[in-house]
């Protein structure tokens, strides 16, 4: 399948840049702020966006993103409102890739096919379900791909080669590489050298690897790219900045992190 990610990676490659993506929890603190924050992040130069649809029991998330999800749910976030914001974002932003990151129970709640249709209709490019590992992924990947939503899988340093092969066979758009053990959060920094995983993914024929988990500083982004990643994602740091200081602070951080992907 051909995705906005493919065009993005091709364009960045020509410029000698790595990709930088920012993550936000939709509905934190409310839907209108999320929409403005997404647009501000694009303005600040991020290449792609990851958005969370808030779930009550996010087992792969640390305290920062858990708290963001709780705030969003308390403020009345629903799946329908999330899709609505994404659709409005897409109307004004035809090119920026947008991926949804959430949990399997939400994707099944109204029927999985309907969930995929809603993603497609909202102009979403990819879907990552944090509690669906590659051995369970096929049943989720096919219906998504059928409506043009790229299934994104996670790979980790401890993932064996045989599993990386399976991941490479399923993951489209990009492959999300976790930069360390544990859950999301900027409290524990990423480990620095990921070249072994990047090499193994390349061997397996994976979609471009993008590194996330614990990325909060420009040097983290640089070391991700030096390890051979095609890009880096910052989540908790952006969410924290938004919660503590607002949209401008989140955009400023995103801008600094994006600059770290420019040719040195």
């Amino acid at each position: 399948m051909n995705t906005r990610y493919d065009s993005m990676f091709a364009r960045l490659k020509d410029k000698g840049e790595g990709a930088f993506g920012a993550f936000l929890m939709l509905g934190d603190p409310d839907m209108e702020t999320s929409l403005k924050a997404l647009e501000a992040l694009v303005e600040a130069g991020v290449d792609f966006l990851e958005v969370g649809i808030p779930f009550s029991d996010p087992i792969a998330d640390g305290p920062t993103i858990q708290a963001a999800a709780m705030r969003a749910l308390k403020a009345g976030a629903t799946q329908a409102k999330c899709f609505d914001v994404l659709e409005r974002f897409r109307a004004n932003n035809p090119d920026t890739p947008v991926g949804v990151l959430t949990y399997a129970n939400l994707a099944l709640a109204h029927g999985y096919d309907q969930f995929c249709d809603s993603l497609a209709k909202a102009g979403v490019d990819s879907l990552l379900l944090a509690d669906v590992p590659s051995i369970e992924a096929e049943a989720f990947a096919e219906p998504a791909a059928k409506v043009g939503v790229a299934p994104v899988l996670i790979a980790a340093g401890n993932t064996p080669d045989a599993t990386l092969k399976r991941i490479a066979g399923i993951s489209r758009g990009y492959t999300y590489c976790v930069a360390r053990e544990g859950v999301t959060g900027a409290e524990t920094a990423m480990r620095t050298d990921h070249s072994a995983l990047m090499d193994r993914l390349k061997q397996a024929g994976s979609a471009p690897p993008v590194l996330g988990f614990g990325i909060s500083k420009p040097e983290h982004v640089q070391s991700a790219l030096q390890s051979g990643a095609a890009g880096a994602i910052s989540g908790s740091a952006i969410v924290s900045a938004l919660a503590a200081e607002g949209i401008q602070a989140a955009a400023k951080l995103a801008h600094a992190l994006k600059r770290a992907t420019l040719p040195q």
Partner: protein, 400 residues
């Protein structure tokens, strides 16, 4: 994974990719241990000499009648006071076999936490127990018990601060600590291989009860009745009877304030299919997929999901799932205390409440019936709560 980890369409491995190698290691260790006489010997020795197995099958002297016999499988007599001991000892040995030096566990009321602390103390494993902050505040004695046995109790402030959040936190810990840590899950939930492992380590309940019943009555029981929280005591009681088609298997869920109120934990009867804590199963959730909080007077049954094998047994019609309300359970709690001199756990009182209903109906219809009730635990832990709830003079008369 060597096995597919499915029970019909339920179960599976719905955990972050980074945990899959740890789950594979656990599956390997379990399959090897199952065929290793040395492991089985060590476990058997612990179960008999430390925990006090086999537990008796007690025929009620005063409840039931000549025609309707109620047998109690006495897991309440096990060291630790509940069936939980069976599987924490086994998982503790598995952890050691895998070279792990630390145990983590979730606990609601504290029963599984206490059992894990016990296994940690016995086997020399550092033990940390996640407990919702709300639960830790209302179950101080169990927090003290865990600390007394050397475990650290970590209050969980996230989410609703109850059992489901403690499970979340234990899973989060494990994604960073699996190299030296075993997650000793408390029931037949979680990603494969946990539901399989915990069932196999609880299977001894039904295996003993089946042999004891045959020996004493010359035939199999008509029904096996057990309470269902996550479902471990029930799966343990059911497993050896599943092939015995004539034996009814009945799981009793907490109906709390009533099935038609939002305050219950009747996941299999009122929940919808979903994915929580690693498995596809029935889940209490709102229409948008957010997990709802359950309710029960008994903390051990207060969980918004259920082991995937129960979802399957219900689906294929092999087991029936019914409810007992808080009030029905509290009445049965008093009845067993007064009529048999046995104080059951609130959880087990749910199973008993339904068994008493069945007995009454059979007697009214003049039918013969033999019922085995899994008395999963003793009531000591519930005393403080019982003192608060029961207005003795009024209730005792009602129970007569």
């Amino acid at each position: 994974m060597k096995l597919d980890g499915r029970f019909g369409r339920f179960g599976g491995v719905f955990a972050p990719e980074i945990l899959v190698p740890a789950l594979e290691q656990l599956e390997d260790a379990f399959l090897e241990a199952r065929d290793d006489p040395a492991f089985q010997d060590e476990l058997n020795t612990l179960l008999t000499k430390y925990a006090g197995r086999p537990t008796p099958l007690t025929l009620c002297r005063n409840l039931g009648s000549e025609k309707v016999r109620i047998y109690l499988k006495r897991e309440d007599l096990l060291h630790g006071g509940a069936h939980k001991t069976n599987q924490v000892l086994a998982q503790g040995l598995l952890a050691k076999r895998m070279g792990k030096t630390r145990l983590i566990a979730e606990t609601g009321a504290g029963q599984h936490g206490v059992a894990t602390a016990m296994a940690g103390a016995l086997l020399g494993l550092k033990t940390q127990v996640y407990m919702g902050a709300k639960d830790a505040a209302r179950q101080e004695i169990n927090v003290f018990r865990m600390r007394l046995m050397g475990a650290e109790v970590i209050p969980v402030e996230a989410g609703s601060k109850t059992l489901k959040d403690a499970v979340n936190e234990a899973l989060r810990d494990w994604t960073a600590s699996f190299a030296d840590t075993h997650y000793l899950i408390g029931t037949v939930t979680g990603p494969h291989p946990f539901p399989l492992i915990v069932r196999e380590f609880q299977r001894i309940i039904g295996a003993e009860a089946r042999a004891q019943c045959l020996e004493e009555t010359g035939r199999l029981p008509d029904a096996v009745v057990a309470c269902v929280g996550g479902g471990s005591n029930a799966m343990g009681a059911f497993a050896d009877f599943v092939e015995d088609e004539g034996v009814k298997l009945i799981g009793v869920e907490p109906a709390g304030h009533g099935m038609d109120t939002p305050e219950h934990g009747a996941t299999l009867q009122k929940g919808r299919e979903g994915i929580l804590h690693g498995a596809r199963t029935f889940v209490l959730q709102d229409s948008d997929g957010q997990i709802e909080e359950s309710w029960s007077v008994s903390a051990g049954l207060d969980y918004p999901a259920v082991g995937p094998e129960h979802a399957h047994l219900r689906d294929i019609g092999r087991a029936d799932y019914v409810g007992a309300t808080d009030d029905e359970a509290l009445a049965a709690f008093q009845t067993l205390s007064r009529r048999e001199g046995i104080i059951p756990a609130f959880e087990s009182a749910h199973a008993l409440a339904h068994a008493l209903k069945m007995a009454k109906q059979a007697e009214a219809e003049g039918r013969e019936m033999t019922i085995v009730v899994n008395l999963s635990g003793r009531g000591d832990k519930d005393m403080a709560q019982a003192v608060q709830i029961l207005d003795f003079s009024a209730r005792a008369e009602a129970a007569e």
